[in-house]
Symmetry: C2
Subunit: 148 residues, 2 copies
């Protein structure tokens, strides 16, 4: 069921690296690569089960590792105590806005901000490698829907 181009790319990656193309790997890749959200490992497993392709926890983590190595998936840390994963889209780098009420995550890109991190790092003698910015706030919907 390589109905999504990204899944097909993952199959290509597996073939190139002489890694068996298993039903589990396809199921996990399909869930993660077609997701619009930032999924936790557990959510990936649940969604796979929901689609009738149940997979073990260890396999989820191992396959996510492979997906990370392939570069098709990136990991995020929103300080929740666990990691989330999302398909690597064409966006080179983006920041995250997290709603403290409903948990919704929005992404944005800001080049000025990016440039500033480099400048700030250099002004303190650091050779910048990467950065992580998460802004917490209340999203429009939660602001409108009363105070709760």
């Amino acid at each position: 069921m390589p109905d999504h181009p990204a899944v097909a790319r993952f199959v290509g990656y597996l073939r190139e690296h002489n890694l068996p193309v298993t039903a589990q790997r396809l199921a996990i890749a399909d869930v993660l690569l077609t997701s619009e959200r930032h999924l936790s490992a557990e959510e990936v497993a649940l969604e796979a089960t929901a689609r009738g392709r149940s997979v073990g926890t260890a396999t989820v983590y191992r396959t996510i590792d492979t997906l990370l190595e392939s570069g098709l998936v990136v990991e995020r840390d929103f300080g929740e105590g666990f990691r989330r994963f999302e398909p690597a889209r064409d966006i080179p780098h983006h920041e995250h806005l997290v709603c403290t009420q409903c948990g919704r995550v929005e992404e944005f890109r800001d080049e000025r901000l990016e440039r500033m991190t480099t400048i700030v790092a250099e002004s303190r003698g650091f050779a910048r490698q990467r950065h992580r910015l998460v802004i917490h706030g209340i999203c429009r919907d939660c602001q409108t829907q009363g105070h709760r």
Copy 2:
């Protein structure tokens, strides 16, 4: 041993809240409030032991919770898989630069950056509450001391 004003303030906080002033709480507060570094819970326990005032792990965590509630300590997450804590200084908010070689942490403040996070959040309908920025790079010392 309230030799540090911040420790004295913690004692005040405990009194105000009718919380017993125990030797353990003083020991933990003393370690954490006088530290120049960002300590992990384990490092707090080790340092307390080193000062001859050994405390249990659970007590370290519970006391850190109290210190967080008092506002005298703030928590940080550098994506290491555990939290670090530092005394809340007068600095209203500051960002962190982390060296990926030696682990050194430098702090800085940048108002322009701060303003930008508010603007970006608002432009997407978010009421900004707070943000977290960590820049990873290689510090001057590590750049100079060869390539390793």
